[in-house]
C-alpha cells in the first residue's frame, strides 16, 4: 500500500492544463523530491493533494483511503500536514500560540467556549516540545511579527510536525533562507522520523538532493521522469528541461 497514490489526476485553469494525467506512488517512509521549472504545476499538485483545489478528474489515495472528495479541513485529521511556500502564519500571536493553533486543529477542545486556553497545560507542554524540536523554544513567547524569516520557516515546520502527520508536504522549505539557515532546516528535516512520509518541492538541489530517496521531475503539468537520485540527475531530459537545450 502506498502512502500517497495519485491516479490520472487532472486539473485545468480555463484552457490551461496545470495537472495533466499525473500518476504518482510514494511508499510509506519515503522522502520524495518533486522538481521542475517555474510553472510546472508543483504547487498546484500540492493544493490538490491537500484539498485546497478540487481535481477535474482522477483520484487521490492516502494510505489506501480514497480522499479525492474529502474536504480540505478533514484531511489533517487523516494524517496529512503541509507547509506553504509563502509563509502563512498568525502574525499577531506568539510562536507558542501559533503552534497551539496547530495542535488545537486536531483536538476536540477547539470547540470549547468555556475553558481558559492558557490553563491547558498539556497543550502548552506539547507546543513547547514542538518548538524545541526546531530550536525555537527560547523565543516561544515572542510575537511572530518580531521574528526573522528563517525562524518563521522553522515555525511552519514545527506546526506541521506538531500534528504528527503520516504524510508531510513541504512546499519549498528552503526558499528565501541564507546558507546557514538552510543547513539548520536541512538538519531539521533529516531528523524527521521515518514513520512520516515526506513529499517536498524544492528548487535548491544542493540541499534537497541529500534528503531525497526518489525524485520526480515535472514539466508543464506532466511527470517527465521519476527515479532514484542518480537516475534523474543523469537523465538527459533533466538537463533539457532545466537548461532549455
Amino acid at each position: 500500500m502506498s502512502a500517497l497514490e495519485l491516479r490520472n489526476l487532472v486539473k485545468s485553469f480555463g484552457g490551461l492544463r496545470v495537472t495533466a494525467d499525473v500518476n504518482l506512488d510514494v511508499a510509506p517512509g519515503e522522502r520524495r523530491l518533486i522538481i521542475g521549472p517555474n510553472g510546472a504545476g508543483k504547487t498546484t499538485l500540492f493544493n490538490l493533494i491537500a484539498g485546497e483545489l478540487r481535481p477535474d478528474g482522477g483520484s487521490i489515495r492516502l494510505f489506501g483511503e480514497d480522499i479525492t472528495r474529502l474536504p480540505c479541513r478533514s484531511r489533517p485529521h487523516r494524517g496529512l500536514a503541509r507547509t506553504y511556500q509563502i509563509i502563512t502564519l498568525f502574525p499577531r500571536e506568539t510562536l507558542l500560540r501559533n503552534v497551539i493553533l496547530s495542535l488545537l486543529g486536531l483536538s476536540p477542545l477547539r470547540w470549547n467556549p468555556v475553558l481558559l486556553l492558557r490553563r491547558q497545560k498539556a497543550l502548552f507542554a506539547e507546543a513547547r516540545a514542538a518548538l524545541e524540536r526546531v530550536g525555537l523554544d527560547r523565543i516561544a513567547e515572542r510575537p511572530l511579527a518580531e521574528t526573522s524569516y528563517g525562524e518563521r520557516r522553522r515555525v511552519e515546520i514545527a506546526m506541521a510536525l506538531a500534528q504528527q502527520p503520516r504524510l508531510l508536504l513541504l512546499d519549498e522549505p528552503f526558499a528565501g533562507l541564507s546558507i546557514d539557515e538552510r543547513k539548520d532546516v536541512q538538519r531539521l528535516l533529516l531528523a524527521i522520523p521515518r514513520e512520516v512520509t515526506v513529499v517536498m518541492i524544492e528548487h535548491d538541489m544542493d540541499v534537497a538532493l541529500d534528503l531525497a530517496d526518489r525524485i520526480t521531475l515535472m514539466h508543464f503539468g506532466e511527470i517527465i521522469i521519476e527515479g532514484t537520485r542518480a537516475e534523474v540527475v543523469a537523465h538527459p531530459r533533466t538537463r533539457e528541461v532545466y537548461l532549455g537545450e
Binding site: P113, V114, L117
Partner: protein
C-alpha cells in the same frame, strides 16, 4: 493585580450608580448605555474577533424587541414572551448567518445590510402584526421573583445583572480555545482550514453567539421603552451599533462598552444643549479616526503609556517605541 483592583472599582461604581446619580432620568441613561453596550459587545464578536463586519445587527436587536412586545401585548406571560424572543432570535440569527456567511468582507456586509433592510421593511409594512408606523405598546415590565421593575432603580439593577453576565460570557469566550479558533479564522482562514478547522462552522457558531446577545439587548430595550417601532431596526441603528464598536475599539472587551457610552451620552445629554449634536458626534468620530485609529480604549492605553514613559525620561520612551527593549 492592578487589573483586579480596577475591575473591583468599576464594579463598585456600577453597583452604586443609583446613589451617586440620584436623578432617575440619568439612571435611565446609564441603563440605556448598558443595553447598547450588550448590543455592541455582541456585534464585536463578529467585527472584532471573526473579522466579519455586519450592518444588520439592528435587525436582530429589533426582531427580539418586536417578539417580546407582540407576545406581552397579546396577553402572554412575561417569562413565556422572553423565552419566545430568545428562541426567535436564535432562529433568526441562524437564517441570517446561513445567508450572509456565503461571503466575507464587503460581500458579507452587503448581505447583512440587505437582510436588515428586509426586516425593517417587514416591521414597517406588515401592519397586521407589527402595527406598522404605530408600533406596539408594551403594557408592563416583567417582575422577576416578584420584584417590580417599573421604576428606574430596580430596572437599572436588572439591566446591570444581565450586562455583567454578558461581559463575563464575552471575557470567557475570547480566552477559550474556541476564541483562539475564532481569531485564527479572522487572521488566516485558509491556513485554519489546512490545520483541520471547519472555518464556516466556527463563524456560524460565532454568529449565533453574537446574534443571541444582540437579541438579549433588544429584549431589554423593549422593557426599557415599553414601546417598539420600526425605528429600532432602521439602518441608522445598525450603523450606530457598528460605530460604537469601531470608535471604542474592535476586538477589545472594554471598547464596545466605551463606544456605547459615548454614543448614548451624545444622543441624550449633549442633544439637550446642542441642537446639532449629530455634528458634534461626527466630529468626535473624525477625531477618533485621526488620533486613535485603533479606537478609544486601545488608543487611550497607548497615549497613557506614552505619557508615563515621558515622565520616566527619554530612555524609557525610546524603549517603549521599540517595543519594550530586549524580549529574549
Amino acid at each position: 493585580m492592578s487589573r483586579w483592583i480596577a475591575l473591583a472599582l468599576a464594579l463598585v461604581a456600577l453597583a452604586t450608580v443609583p446613589w451617586w446619580v440620584v436623578n432617575g432620568y440619568y439612571v435611565n441613561i446609564v441603563s440605556q448605555i448598558l443595553i447598547y453596550a450588550i448590543l455592541a459587545l455582541g456585534l464585536n464578536v463578529l467585527v472584532g474577533y471573526a473579522g466579519l463586519v455586519s450592518l444588520g445587527h439592528a435587525g436582530l436587536f429589533g426582531v427580539a424587541c418586536y417578539t417580546v412586545a407582540w407576545f406581552v401585548a397579546a396577553g402572554w406571560g412575561q417569562l413565556a414572551a422572553a423565552l419566545f424572543a430568545l428562541a426567535m432570535i436564535i432562529a433568526t440569527s441562524a437564517v441570517f448567518a446561513v445567508l450572509s456567511l456565503r461571503a466575507t468582507g464587503i460581500g458579507f456586509l452587503m448581505i447583512t445590510l440587505a437582510i436588515g433592510q428586509i426586516l425593517w421593511g417587514l416591521a414597517y409594512r406588515w401592519i397586521g402584526v407589527t402595527g406598522g408606523d404605530n408600533g406596539i405598546n408594551v403594557p408592563s415590565r416583567p417582575a422577576p421573583f416578584g420584584l417590580s421593575l417599573t421604576f428606574s432603580r430596580p430596572f437599572y439593577f436588572f439591566v446591570l445583572v444581565v450586562f455583567l453576565v454578558a461581559v463575563a460570557a464575552m471575557a470567557v469566550l475570547i480566552r477559550s480555545p474556541f476564541g483562539a479558533s475564532l481569531k485564527g479564522t479572522r487572521d488566516q482562514p485558509r491556513r485554519m482550514t489546512a490545520l483541520g478547522y471547519n472555518v464556516w462552522l466556527i463563524r456560524f457558531v460565532a454568529f449565533l453567539f453574537s446574534g443571541f446577545w444582540s437579541g438579549v439587548a433588544g429584549v431589554l430595550f423593549c422593557y426599557y421603552n415599553q414601546f417598539v417601532s420600526p425605528n429600532v431596526l432602521a439602518l441608522s441603528s445598525s450603523a450606530e451599533a457598528l460605530l460604537m464598536v469601531i470608535s471604542g475599539g474592535t476586538g477589545t472587551l472594554l471598547g464596545p462598552i466605551a463606544g456605547a457610552a459615548l454614543v448614548v451620552v451624545m444622543k441624550n445629554v449633549a442633544s439637550a444643549y446642542i441642537e446639532r449634536w449629530n455634528l458634534v458626534l461626527g466630529a468626535i468620530f473624525v477625531a477618533i479616526v485621526i488620533f486613535m485609529p485603533e479606537g478609544l480604549v486601545p488608543g487611550s492605553v497607548r497615549l497613557w503609556r506614552w505619557a508615563w514613559s515621558l515622565r520616566r525620561g527619554p530612555r524609557a520612551a525610546a524603549a517603549l517605541r521599540t517595543g519594550g527593549g530586549s524580549a529574549g
